[in-house]
């Protein structure tokens, strides 16, 4: 109770008992608003609205000069409520609230009318219509401004620990950056090893660094850092809480091998009689039912794949496993951790080409994917770095790479976006193959070559001029298999505007990246949003590319959208910085949009209690009224709309305020 009282300044407070003087500030936003609607008319319109003492216009109110104009009016005692009509409040609400705070006015005496995203940008060819909407939006916010109440921003503590979901190159970099600043990091990875897709790559463009050589030292650094708890073979089960105070349940999947006893000696795998396709090599090589995914895995401890284990017990015998680490009765465990921030670095899935009919993948033996080629080129891969035709094991004398497989394609089942890495990895693979087989013919069929990064264009130029890789601008029409398992490619050369046919030994499909199959589940658990392309959505595409829309949750790497390793690492470091800012400060202000029960109005019916998804409402048996815990309340306002006695106020969205908006905008129509 006491908590709610301090957050609402009573009506006897000076600023609420004095006359309401609203200032309306109409922003041109350059030509974004001012170029569509008549701002002079807008000023005249706003001036006539009740309680508006002044209406002004300016080119950019978010600029220093613009903010200063508002500040001056507050300082001069001219206005005590501020309405800025400009962009979306999601863009600049916090900017303008600070102006009020600096001038000693409560920040919740500010409201923003969205006349850009919701008016001038969507009614660009209908200035009269845009004007009508803009006027109504101003009218709505002026009506709300009359009903505003002072609120005290809530401060919550931020725990100095972070959860990182996904331990690929992005998650690893974020983890190291945070751990090295002294924060505790829980690094959760669903696979038995950290490293992600980068561990599967052979070399990295454009510098031709060996992927493992730059990744595995980082993986070892992770395992040695005392501030990092690696939770491999684990998945997020449930997330509760809010910025600074998340409670996360993590399912640690059963290894059936005691991870404390296992020494990683590998005796068990040598004796295991079961052989299955190794996922790490995309099924191109074999592993045992008891396995580590690859020799440099971290943690390098064994796991039994129970789907394939025949429980023969050979590995469990003391002659095989001396430390007696095998435990067939092992079970999943649920750990609960408390963290202040969460970083989502879940990466991607390669596009599944078996769904894409006309490329012949799965039907023609010598059609493989770019990732399979990568494993083929890798010295630790199934062919020890010498790519061969799957049909006969010989080195192909000619290879075609087909670009944009599954990307930049508007057909059903494909993705309209560019996957941003395929051009470069195809060029890289062709160069690698040419280095091993200079006599081989290498073709790349492309739509556009996108060599945008630092050193990429030079890498591409060299591939074409020095390596003799043939770049054919044209999209594939059809692939046919010849009797000798070579492939006939039919395409159009769009430079010469004529159809072409080539017979080649092997085809590599440059498959793109798509969001992970379980990203929907993760988005729901964390209450973060996804973009149209399925990847996680950033708070602002340019200015907040690593923040999610939920405070305290950040996005890093390909989880946010396709990107290459340098970009994924930059973003990972950005996300680490974002999380560190919150944790270093130790506390954060959150919007005080929680709900309050007005004791005098509450009839004690308890309808609100089961409406609350957060268990924030309890029943006070002595007073026979409901009570809302402002810390647990997340401010959805569902209880307020349920209360039959109108006893619940949702801060900043009170029934009175919302009704004022409706009445304000529809006042002219009143019947």
């Amino acid at each position: 109770m006491s908590k709610s009282k301090i957050n609402i300044i009573s009506p006897s407070n000076n600023s609420e008992s004095t006359e309401i003087r609203i200032g309306v500030y109409l922003c041109h936003c350059g030509v974004n608003i001012g170029g569509v609607i008549n701002m002079d008319e807008m000023v005249k319109f706003a001036q006539k609205l009740p309680n508006v003492v002044i209406a002004r216009q300016y080119k950019f109110y978010c600029s220093d000069n613009g903010q200063a104009e508002i500040a001056r009016d507050i300082r001069d005692g001219l206005v005590n409520r501020v309405v800025v009509a400009a962009c979306s409040p999601r863009m600049h609400e916090s900017t303008f609230r600070r102006v009020l705070v600096d001038e000693g006015l409560n920040p919740f005496y500010f409201v923003q009318a969205n006349i850009r995203e919701h008016a001038t940008w969507v009614n660009m060819n209908d200035p009269a219509g845009a004007q009508r909407i803009a006027q109504d939006h101003v009218r709505m916010q002026v009506a709300k401004a009359r009903e505003l109440r002072a609120l005290k921003p809530q401060k919550v503590m931020v725990k100095p620990s972070a959860l990182i979901i996904g331990a690929g190159i992005a998650g690893i970099n974020t983890a190291l950056d945070l751990a090295n600043q002294g924060f505790h990091v829980y690094l959760v990875e669903k696979e038995p090893t950290i490293g992600g897709h980068m561990a599967q790559l052979d070399k990295t463009f454009p510098t031709m660094d060996c992927s493992s050589c730059i990744l595995t030292p980082k993986m070892v650094e992770i395992s040695r850092n005392p501030n990092i708890t690696v939770m491999a073979y684990s998945e997020i089960e449930h997330v509760d809480g809010y910025v600074g105070n998340f409670q996360v349940q993590i399912r640690k999947k059963a290894h059936y091998v005691d991870q404390l006893k296992c020494t990683g000696c590998g005796e068990c795998a040598q004796h295991c009689p079961v052989s299955v396709g190794n996922e790490f090599d995309l099924g191109l090589s074999h592993r045992k039912a008891i396995y580590i995914p690859f020799p440099q895995a971290v943690p390098g401890l064994y796991t039994i794949d129970m789907e394939h284990c025949i429980k023969c017990g050979i590995c469990a015998s003391t002659t095989v496993c001396e430390p007696q680490a095998i435990n067939f009765d092992d079970q999943d465990e649920i750990d609960t951790i408390e963290v202040g921030t969460i970083i989502v670095a879940t990466g991607y899935d390669p596009i599944d080409v078996s769904n894409l009919g006309n490329y012949g993948y799965g039907r023609f033996e010598n059609v493989i994917t770019g990732l399979e080629m990568e494993r083929n080129l890798s010295s630790t891969g199934p062919n020890l770095g010498h790519p061969v035709r799957p049909s006969d094991g010989t080195s192909p004398k000619s290879i075609v790479w087909i670009q944009c497989v599954g990307s930049r394609d508007t057909r059903e089942g494909y993705h309209p976006y560019c996957s941003r890495v395929c051009c470069m990895y195809a060029i890289k693979q062709a160069r690698q193959y040419k280095e091993k087989h200079p006599e081989a013919q290498c073709y790349i069929f492309y739509i556009d070559i996108r060599a945008f990064g630092k050193g990429y264009e030079e890498f591409y130029e060299l591939a074409s001029h020095e390596y003799g890789i043939k770049f054919m601008r044209g999209r594939l029409a059809e692939i046919q298999e010849n009797p000798d398992k070579s492939l006939l490619i039919r395409a159009e050369d769009t430079f010469l505007a004529q159809p072409i046919e080539i017979n080649v030994d092997m085809v590599v499909l440059s498959i793109g990246l798509e969001t992970t199959h379980d990203s929907g589940k993760i988005a729901s658990m964390l209450a973060i949003q996804k973009s149209t392309d399925g990847f996680f959505m950033e708070a602002h595409p340019k200015l907040r590319p690593v923040d999610s829309l939920t405070d305290g949750i950040f996005i890093a790497g390909v989880a946010q959208g396709p990107k290459d390793i340098p970009d994924a690492v930059s973003q990972a470091k950005g996300a680490a910085a974002g999380a560190a800012i919150l944790m270093a400060k130790g506390e954060v202000e959150v919007e005080p949009y929680f709900s309050i029960v007005q004791p005098a109005l509450c009839s004690g019916c308890r309808s609100c209690i089961n409406q609350c998804p957060f268990g924030a409402i309890t029943f006070d048996e002595i007073l026979q009224i409901a009570h809302i815990n402002p810390i647990k309340c997340k401010g959805c306002g569902t209880c307020a709309s349920t209360c039959p006695s109108n006893a619940i106020l949702q801060n900043h969205f009170t029934t009175k305020q919302l009704m004022a908006i409706i009445d304000g905008v529809l006042g002219d129509y009143q019947v």
């Binding site: 919701h118 729901s524 149209t532 409406q611 919302l658 409706i662 019947v671």
Partner: protein, 155 residues
């Protein structure tokens, strides 16, 4: 107060070609409001009929708000919520979904056409869907004609 039953059916009377329906959008902050912003940043053009009121969750929408808007002459109310399973507040949108049949029934009892209130699930990335929905709603409301309670004053 609304005293007698309202007649609200598409009439065969001369359709007012200049009639521009007034749509009040009540959008949740996390999905539909953000999606509406996205439509703006992507410059997706739509007819100028939608006014937007922001609430934190569609669960905050009181039936009284919809009734009030209709009573005061809004031609349509578009409630925008997250998709089921995507609610920022776990399940606020479920509650809205459950309230809708009662609300529609209520406005029908008043005599309003049930199309005067729509609930649509529009995510933060579905600016294109929002644009299509608004276009469709405008078309339907134009066929339906003005809110019968609206006075003749035009704007």
């Amino acid at each position: 107060m609304i005293k007698s039953k309202i007649e609200d059916n598409p009439s065969s009377e001369v359709i007012d070609k200049d009639f521009e329906p007034f749509i009040l959008g009540i959008f949740c902050n996390w999905c539909t409001y953000t999606g509406c912003d996205q439509a703006g940043t992507s410059r997706m053009q739509r007819p100028a009929n939608l006014r937007v009121m922001r609430v934190m969750c569609s669960g905050r929408v009181e039936p009284e708000m919809v009734i009030e808007a209709l009573k005061r002459g809004a031609d349509g109310v578009l409630i925008g919520a997250c998709h089921i399973g995507d609610c920022h507040y776990v399940n606020g949108n479920h509650k809205t979904v459950r309230r809708m049949p009662v609300l529609v029934n209520l406005i029908e009892q008043y005599g309003f056409n049930p199309n005067r209130v729509w609930l649509r699930h529009i995510s933060a990335s579905e600016g294109a869907e929002l644009t299509e929905i608004v276009k469709e709603y405008v078309k339907i409301l134009k066929e339906l004609g003005p809110n019968p309670l609206k006075n003749q004053k035009s704007r």
